[in-house]
């Protein structure tokens, strides 16, 4: 990691071994326009206390999101808090499926549903289950695909969870550091597009593992 930058320079979620060592998208902040910088830097500030999720939902959603995003170590992108803000402010995409309620209610209903699954399958609440048991329950929802699950179509709930999770996680500059994405580019723009071409501040992929050639 970079040693001479500000604290947490080049931070990646979980501080994982990095494919883009030393790459720090925040080192470029002086080159961003102020409005964009304001929006992105706000994601680094202390998350506000939860307002949407109840205490019971907080435990379930927190564990669910940790698994969906493989986030078990600090520093963590505060996805639970980011989603809580969106749902509190009703910052949804507006649309909902005819057979599902709007997003906030669909979150509540689906969290309760996976908790019910935990109780009937492992005789424990979702938060009391082991990580492996939780993953089994999550996998079962995905495997239900287009079939009904507690009165909802499982694939639509799956898409709701992953959409919110991905939107929060990949909005965060730490996630950009992890994937080598240079983030905001106004007013500077890019000088070196093209295959295997990089800007001076971009870092080459040092660990180009093809995900399609590797099984977990």
């Amino acid at each position: 990691m970079v040693s001479d930058g500000p604290a947490l320079a080049g931070t990646t979620p979980g501080g994982q071994p990095v494919r883009f060592p030393g790459f720090d998208v925040l080192a470029q902040v002086d080159h961003w326009d102020p409005v964009t910088a304001g929006v992105v830097l706000a994601r680094l500030s202390l998350p506000s206390p939860l307002r949407f999720f109840t205490v019971a939902e907080e435990g379930i959603a927190g564990a669910l999101l940790d698994h969906l995003l493989d986030q078990y170590e600090d520093p963590r992108v505060p996805v639970l808090q980011m989603i809580d803000v969106r749902l509190t402010e009703k910052q949804t995409d507006g649309w909902h499926y005819a057979d599902l309620p709007e997003d906030g209610q669909a979150w509540r209903d689906s969290l309760r549903a996976i908790d019910d699954d935990a109780r009937s399958r492992f005789d424990a609440s979702f938060t009391e289950c082991t990580g492996e048991q939780q993953k089994t329950l999550i996998q079962a929802v995905q495997d239900t695909e287009g079939k009904p699950w507690h009165g909802m179509r499982a694939d639509r709930i799956w898409s709701l969870w992953t959409r919110y999770a991905c939107t929060a996680f990949y909005a965060h500059p730490w996630a950009w550091n992890e994937i080598g994405f240079s983030g905001p580019a106004y007013p500077r723009g890019y000088k070196n597009p093209g295959i295997d071409a990089r800007e001076p501040y971009e870092v080459r992929d040092h660990l180009p593992i093809d995900p399609t050639r590797e099984t977990s």
Partner: protein, 572 residues
């Protein structure tokens, strides 16, 4: 002619020749300035908005009976506003969303651009429900073109006769030739950059093609190896200065609103000229009803909510341009004694024949770094598969284009493959190695694909749109065929693996144009059959959609409707 020999290379290999290339076409810019001065009315320095022009904007009183009130300031509405204002009409164009200032209101960031989309509640249904929001429609002056990608192809002549020629879809009451002069005019005003176009009605573009980034290079390389013809463009992005609009800086955030003023949207291509000719843009005002005089059968104006109060704007003509969902919804919500089932809905046609294009995206994994985010997503396209191929079991076709999703959109793509947890993160860490192509499949218009009113109400107290969509067999064939072609291109370019994510794009239809009131809502000149001084000038009127992105056609058709309106009004 081999396009790879004539096409521009990657940006890194282009030297200082851009300015001289552009100058060769400068005459076209002068001609544009004579009929639409928008690009010259924008500021020349650092800022992107001519605040003075907005402050000096004419403001009509609701008691004024203006010549035309327009609902919606997007592709269709803003074009009509500019044309009518130029013709000396008094015009008020109302938009539900803000009057954007790109400097203050837009960011170079995916998640931070959520406010550009129409996110009022809507219900989606059918066998293949179509997610809306970020994927479909915009809100605010400039409409969906504020966050559209920027592809600006024309429709093909065949699109206007799919029913008589292919036995599918519908025939338009107008021909390609009716639109051609308007295509040319709008291409000059946006302006469009691209290589000479060989498909449909072959034509040239006012600006030279842009250099391409990694994703464009992959497409070119793969298509060449597969013997598939392709061209760079056509994109509504300046290549060189145009008026006071600067050159694109290749920052890749076109779908988040162009902070540079390089990518065209009506906010910068038509609204400034409309203001300079006396039009008023009334932003942050939601139209909730169209008033029709029961006695004369004519529209008298619109009702709208602004700042918590209801107002009326009286007008000699009402033009609707609220997008393919809001336009039908507004008609259905404007029921009256004379129109109990909704305005202009005597024949149960309002909201029907709504179309989306099937838009599968296929991604390929490369050993090299592609870094597809470092260029405008719209770069290279092919219309080789646009027309009906008699050897295939399906009618009509598809086009192929570069799409280049940013990380959040890419993550949805990866998650859509079923990856989660460690798997998802591993794929995502590999982002810089992927290239993504998208297809646009010509899904056919069907009566059952429609907008109706839901039980649910929005914060204005109005029933929200219920939008139902189901694909037909032909649609499904096209999706498969397009995926195969994209996989072929990427594999030929050297991809070790491809993955495909099926999605939709571009809603049009819902109040279609036809020869009579038994088959459509408006006639050839976009006048509704039921109310003589009520017109619809957005994408809702399209009877078919081809496999071209629709914005250019929507603007050209609106420009034509406005011209016809001015002529008929003058000759009376």
């Amino acid at each position: 002619m081999n396009p790879a020999e004539t096409g521009p290379g990657p940006l890194s290999r282009v030297t200082g020749g851009l300015r001289s290339l552009f100058d060769a076409h400068d005459g076209a810019a002068d001609r544009v300035r004579g009929r639409n001065e928008s690009a010259w009315l924008l500021p020349n320095g650092q800022g992107r908005t001519n605040h003075r022009l907005r402050e000096d904007m004419h403001r009509y009183s609701p008691d004024d009976v203006v010549d035309a009130v327009i609902v919606g300031c997007g592709a269709g509405g803003a074009t009509a506003a500019q044309r009518l204002a130029r013709a000396g009409w008094s015009v008020v164009a109302i938009d539900a969303g803000p009057f954007w200032d790109p400097d203050q209101d837009w960011v170079s960031d995916e998640a931070g651009s959520h406010h550009l989309y129409w996110t009022e509640p809507r219900v989606i249904d059918g066998e293949n429900p179509v997610p809306l929001g970020s994927n479909n429609s915009g809100r605010g002056v400039g409409g969906s073109m504020v966050h559209y990608a920027g592809y600006a192809p024309r429709f093909h002549p065949s699109d206007f006769h799919t029913h008589s020629v292919d036995g599918v879809g519908a025939d338009w009451p107008i021909d390609y030739d009716d639109l051609r002069p308007f295509y040319e005019a709008i291409e000059g005003e946006l302006p469009v950059a691209g290589q000479d176009w060989p498909w449909g009605d072959p034509h040239r573009y006012p600006h030279r093609a842009h250099p391409v980034g990694g994703n464009g290079e992959v497409f070119q390389r793969g298509a060449l190896a597969q013997g598939i013809d392709f061209r760079v463009g056509p994109v509504a992005i300046t290549n060189g200065r145009f008026g006071n609009r600067p050159h694109c800086i290749y920052r890749g955030f076109c779908l988040q609103g162009c902070k540079v003023n390089a990518k065209a949207s009506p906010l910068i291509t038509h609204v400034p000229d409309a203001l300079a000719h006396g039009a008023e843009i009334r932003a942050d005002a939601m139209v909730v009803g169209i008033d029709v005089d029961e006695r004369t059968g004519r529209a008298t104006g619109v009702r709208y909510l602004r700042g918590g109060r209801e107002y009326r704007q009286r007008a000699g003509h009402v033009l609707l341009a609220g997008y393919s969902i809001e336009t039908p919804r507004l008609l259905l919500n404007s029921a009256s004694k004379r129109f109990p089932e909704g305005l202009c809905n005597d024949f149960d046609l309002v909201g029907r024949y709504l179309m989306v294009q099937g838009a599968p995206q296929t991604a390929g994994r490369f050993t090299q770094e592609i870094r597809m985010y470092k260029a405008p997503p719209p770069e290279v396209s092919s219309e080789q598969f646009y027309e009906t191929d008699p050897t295939k079991p399906y009618k009509r076709g598809f086009s192929i284009q570069t799409v280049s999703p940013l990380p959040i959109t890419w993550a949805e793509h990866v998650a859509g493959q079923g990856h989660w947890g460690e798997d998802l993160r591993r794929y995502m860490r590999d982002y810089v190695h992927w290239s993504v192509l998208g297809a646009l499949c010509e899904f056919l218009p069907q009566a059952r694909n429609r907008v109706t009113l839901a039980e649910e109400k929005d914060r204005y107290g109005l029933p929200v749109a219920h939008f139902s969509y189901s694909q037909c067999e032909n649609d499904k064939h096209l999706l498969k065929a397009a995926q195969q072609v994209m996989e072929g291109i990427l594999t030929a370019a050297g991809a070790s693996e491809t993955i495909t994510f099926t999605r939709n794009a571009h809603l049009v239809g819902g109040a279609r144009m036809a020869t009579d009131e038994h088959s459509g809502v408006v006639g050839a000149d976009c006048r509704t059959f039921a109310v003589p001084n009520l017109l619809i000038v957005d994408g809702s009127v399209l009877p078919t959609q081809g496999s071209a992105n629709p914005a250019l056609t929507i603007m050209a058709n609106s420009a034509r409707a406005a011209e016809r309106l001015v002529h008929t009004a003058a000759s009376r």
